[in-house]
């Protein structure tokens, strides 16, 4: 029974990892740029949700979409003001620019919100459901379920709609895309918006059961990298499987080896897997 319990906890958390990681993989897939500030986007979304609750007194039904919209705007802004310009520069400039953005966001948060850990009340989404002996907290169920649906939704939009087809066209061949009338820069801005909106939703969900501080972004950036590498760069289904897998591995290793070692196990397995299969689980060689 404990195994099922651990697996269920891991899957619910893993779905949230999958959601924000699919944002990273989308941005990479569209323009081969790595967003080193991805975890800091999650951190900002958590603050948006936190302040929406404490100042505006609105619950998750409103603050999760609010965080998504705010981060969508931030993603588009980052593309228009920063990424669009450094894309023309050398590779190193591209890497350093989002790395610099990450530091900027972190220190801006430190300055604006102080280094204190804050969190929402535990019982904001209260209640525990029993399902055949497994205990599932309502907040984790809400977070995991929403994240799973949205990640699958993102995959469907990318593969089944004209919009997704246009985005893929830009990632395949920008010149050919412009030839058929697609505005490549709009699609790239949209990819940044959607990729950041995924962190917005994820942050709004994570804050239901996790503390916020300006430093939490670090851990999320690393998790997103591992997830995206593991799933294969540019693959949303890959990010989903990898996210769920990492959630479960974390859950088991935290139980057997103690919470402090769970990251060691995740990274060790990650290195081994990349050694065996460098393109990731669903990536193209």
């Amino acid at each position: 029974m404990i195994l099922l319990q651990l697996a269920a906890d891991g899957l619910l958390l893993g779905a949230v990892y999958a959601l924000f990681s699919s944002g990273l993989t989308l941005i990479w897939g569209m323009m081969n740029v790595i967003n080193f500030a991805h975890g800091d986007f999650v951190m900002l979304a958590m603050y948006v949700a936190f302040f929406a609750f404490t100042l505006l007194k609105i619950g998750p039904i409103f603050f999760v979409p609010l965080a998504a919209m705010a981060l969508f705007g931030l993603g588009v802004l980052v593309y228009v003001a920063l990424v669009r310009h450094v894309m023309r520069g050398p590779m190193l400039a591209q890497i350093l620019s989002t790395f610099g953005l990450a530091l900027f966001l972190r220190y801006a948060a430190l300055w604006a919100f102080s280094a204190n850990f804050v969190s929402l009340p535990d019982n904001l989404v209260g209640g525990v459901y029993q399902l055949g002996g497994i205990r599932l907290s309502a907040s984790h169920l809400l977070a995991g379920g929403t994240a799973l649906v949205l990640t699958l939704g993102m995959h469907l939009v990318l593969t089944r709609t004209d919009l997704g087809s246009r985005m893929l066209a830009v990632s395949e061949d920008r010149v050919a895309a412009s030839l058929v009338g697609i505005r490549a820069e709009r699609m790239q801005a949209l990819a940044w918006g959607l990729g950041a909106a995924a962190t917005g939703v994820a942050g709004g969900l994570i804050v239901l059961f996790f503390y916020v501080s300006p430093e939490v972004g670090n851990a999320f950036t690393l998790l997103a990298f591992v997830t995206v590498c593991l799933g294969g760069f540019g693959s949303v289904p890959g990010a989903l499987i990898a996210g769920l897998l990492i959630g479960v591995i974390e859950s088991f290793s935290a139980y057997w080896l103690g919470p402090a070692t769970k990251d060691v196990v995740v990274f060790a397995l990650f290195v081994v897997l990349l050694w065996v299969r460098p393109q990731g689980l669903l990536g193209r060689a």
Partner: protein, 240 residues
């Protein structure tokens, strides 16, 4: 005299310090088939790419139905009714035949016209209809060429430009393609075809323009060009 559909005057394109084309001038009348001829590196692709808005002109003008378009970007030009099946086709190989065709209709103002246009392409190229759910990356060379032309037709252009539709294809496939182009022309479509192989192009063309190292050296009716002794000199150094 009636205004030509397309008038290219002293068009020049530079790639950094290198000259792509130096001075290209020609006209395309509505409903005509015009061949753009020249040896390797003469500037055919550069000319078509400049017309399509893929490369910026560094000099000269492009007049399309009375409007100057040399500063326009590619998505604006396809929306004005000029479509290009580019050199190397540049299909979206990770997507299906149907997705490629739907993408070709991106610039279409009325989405309701997408279905009839798709039907037109499928009736012109029944092979594409059979393979509509197949990934474009798995098509044969001839089928890729059909898809490239079909994709360009999906924007319902007034002028269809083709960059070496015969390149790398078996003679029978080329014949079929030129037959189809003849049918499109008979239906009123204006065509601008860049070809190295002049026999092929002159057979279908009403008029032709010959480029040599980035300059227009000859222009006239297809018959005049075919019989002009200077034509072969323009091709000097080419592989025939």
């Amino acid at each position: 005299m009636s205004e030509a559909l397309l008038r290219v005057s002293k068009l020049a394109v530079h790639y950094g310090d290198l000259v792509g084309i130096a001075e290209v001038s020609f006209e395309v009348e509505e409903g005509a088939v015009v061949a753009l001829l020249g040896a390797n590196g003469a500037g055919k692709t550069t000319t078509l790419n400049a017309l399509a808005g893929l490369v910026r002109a560094s000099g000269g003008t492009i007049l399309w139905r009375g409007e100057r378009i040399e500063e326009r970007s590619a998505h604006e030009i396809v929306a004005r009714g000029i479509a290009l099946a580019p050199e190397g086709w540049r299909l979206f190989v990770q997507q299906t035949v149907e997705q490629n065709l739907r993408l070709g209709a991106t610039a279409l103002a009325e989405r309701a016209r997408l279905a009839p246009l798709l039907e037109r392409v499928f009736s012109l190229f029944p092979r594409l209809a059979e393979r509509r759910r197949q990934s474009a990356g798995t098509l044969s060379g001839g089928e890729r060429q059909m898809l490239a032309v079909g994709r360009a037709l999906m924007s319902d252009p007034k002028l269809l430009m083709l960059d070496e539709p015969s390149l790398g294809l078996a003679p029978s496939v080329v014949d079929t393609m030129y037959e189809t182009l003849g049918r499109l022309s008979a239906a009123g479509l204006t065509l601008l075809i860049a070809e190295q192989s002049m026999e092929l192009a002159l057979e279908i063309a009403d008029r032709a323009t010959v480029l040599q190292t980035g300059r227009t050296v000859l222009s006239g009716t297809a018959r005049e060009i075919a019989e002009n002794p200077d034509l072969h000199r323009a091709y000097l150094g080419a592989a025939f």
